[in-house]
Amino acid sequence: MPDLRHSPISRKLTIMNVLVSGAALLAASVAFLAYDQYTFRQNLIRSLSAEAQIVGSNSVSALIFDDPDSAQQTLSALHNLPHVITAAIFTPDGHTFAQYARSEHERLANPGDPSGKAIATFRGNELIVRQPIIFQGRQVGSVFIRSDLAEAQQRLQQYGGIAILVLSLSLASALLLSSVVRRSVATPIVELANTARLVSEERNYSVRAKPTGSRDEVATLIEAFNSMLAQIQQRDAALQSAQTELERRVEERTRQLVSANRELEAFSYSVSHDLRGPLEVISGFTYILASEHGRKLDSSGKECINQIENASRRMAELIDDLLNLSRVSTTAMHNERVDLSGIAKEIADQLCRQEPSRRVEFIIRDCDTVRGDARLLRIVMENLMRNSWKYTSKHEQAHIEFACETRRERPVFYVRDDGAGFDPAHAKRLFKPFQRLHGAVDFPGTGIGLATVQRIIARHGGEIWAEGAVEKGATFYFSL
């Protein structure tokens, strides 16, 4: 038999019905059988005692006048009672006066205590009755009758058979009736369970359990289940609409942001572009002023012109950098193979040519090519290497290294120098536009280069970070 705990509820109900009715009937049958046996035995005692009394009173004269034959005759009447195995009459002093046996093989009774009172005892499968024979107030002997309980056993068997028959009939009818019960109790629960499974498996909250039409707890359960489903559906719908609304809003905001950004970039581009015109006019006319009217100016005037020229040049650089920054964000990306080591060598040569007086040792390692936009990556390399070149300018002897390594299974490139370095506490400010850690007097610059580099790296889906310490050099790492 399979484990009852895991069997379906209808089977449980059936088994419960059968068990309950079976147990009740069994208890009733056992009680009935026990009571029947009890009363039967009591009746047997009564009838056998009466029999013994009759035998005794019929044997009084035989005992008194010492006539065992007569007593024997009286006893032999007992053969009409087939359940009597043996019987005997004893004299008061314990001698056997007369005896009777159903068959020759039966062992005869022994007197025990012949003077004793009437007794009736069950021994094994036998009933033994002893009855004193009293005549005119005096005991003249005693009668023993030993009877078997075959009738009781037969009765037990018959009644047991009937009980088993009734039991099996009742169990069969309980089985039949339980199908009716199953219909009214188990079926709605099973359907409810099926619906619940459907809901949880398919996440379909639109199904509903079928109401039973009755007003019991199962109906309440189904009703509650359906109302829970309705609530879930409602909340689902509300959640869905809220999400749609949110997405719509995000999209709208994004669109607004994108257009605002674009406008801003266009604005900054056009501003930078448009600023160039007047600047060129300023620097052009300043050049003319210096070259054609320089002689008319005293040293202080020449110094003013010099200051104007320097400022114009710085402004031009600033405008170029701003244009680069806005271009980096807006221009389309190409995807091609880029040899960063080759670019590093070109830039190093270029730098050495520009300032041959400086003693800088370049160490360029050969790294694997990467995929990315060659023009943008060149901007990255130029910015990083020019930075290193710039910040080592105060040192007599300097080293600049480009190399690569593998960190967390990704290639990481770095540019390292042993220049001025920076305070690590401000490392994050490095990459923000117009933020500079060094004064313009020490190291000229616009503060836009590293911001541009970060934008390019971000567009390539990579990361950039810096390590360093004041006067201990700086290392700029990036991955793509």
């Binding site: 004269s61 035989a62 006539d67 007569s70 022994n110 021994r123 499968n125």
Partner: protein, 201 residues
């Protein structure tokens, strides 16, 4: 007692059988030790007259007499002629009651003295006078008992006969009926012979 092969029983049944057998065995041993202690002929065995004395008294228990005003308040058992019982009868009846009267025994030598007796034992010494004695008692409610041969045939009521070493008796119904005595069927049942009254079977 014989023990035959019994069908297999429960342990309790076996134990019961065992204990009853033990009881039997000890009883047998007890009886054996008794017989060893008193070897030879049994000294306590009652003689014929001991038995007859007891029977005389016991007849009184199975016979009812017509209600007459008794001369004495006693139930008299009388012995006519030589007394064969000696002290036995005295011992038997002493302290006994029958039909609400105290039982007493009395020796008489003349049948006329039998008035007031309920039971009359006629000794065999009176056998020659029997034909004269019986008619004298004809209408008196007296149960006549004797161990004379042919006592019943001659009109006596109860005659002792020793058969197979056992004291038995013959009942003659005729005279008991004419005298108004009622003999219990129990008594007749154990009688060796019952002579029916004349004119009936």
């Amino acid at each position: 007692m014989t023990r035959q092969a019994q069908p297999a029983r429960s342990l309790r049944g076996k134990l019961t059988t065992l204990s009853s057998w033990c009881a039997c065995l000890s009883l047998i041993l007890l009886l054996c030790s008794d017989s060893f202690a008193f070897p030879g002929p049994e000294p306590n065995r009652p003689t014929q007259y001991d038995v007859e004395a007891a029977y005389l008294f016991n007849f009184g228990r199975f016979v009812s007499w017509p209600i007459t005003e008794p001369p004495s308040g006693q139930f008299l058992i009388c012995i006519l002629g030589d007394d064969p019982f000696g002290l036995t009868l005295d011992k038997t009846v002493s302290g006994e009651n029958l039909h609400g009267k105290r039982v007493a025994d009395k020796r008489i030598s003349h049948p006329q003295d039998a008035v007031g007796c309920s039971i009359l034992y006629i000794s065999s010494s009176e056998s020659s006078r029997l034909s004269k004695i019986l008619p004298l008692l004809k209408d008196a409610p007296v149960l006549t008992v004797s161990d004379m041969p042919d006592f019943a045939q001659q009109g006596g009521m109860i005659q002792f006969i020793v058969r197979d070493g056992r004291v038995r008796f013959v009942v003659n119904m005729g005279p008991t009926q004419t005298d108004g005595l009622a003999l219990s069927s129990e008594l007749l049942k154990v009688a060796l012979e019952v002579i029916p009254p004349k004119g009936s079977h």
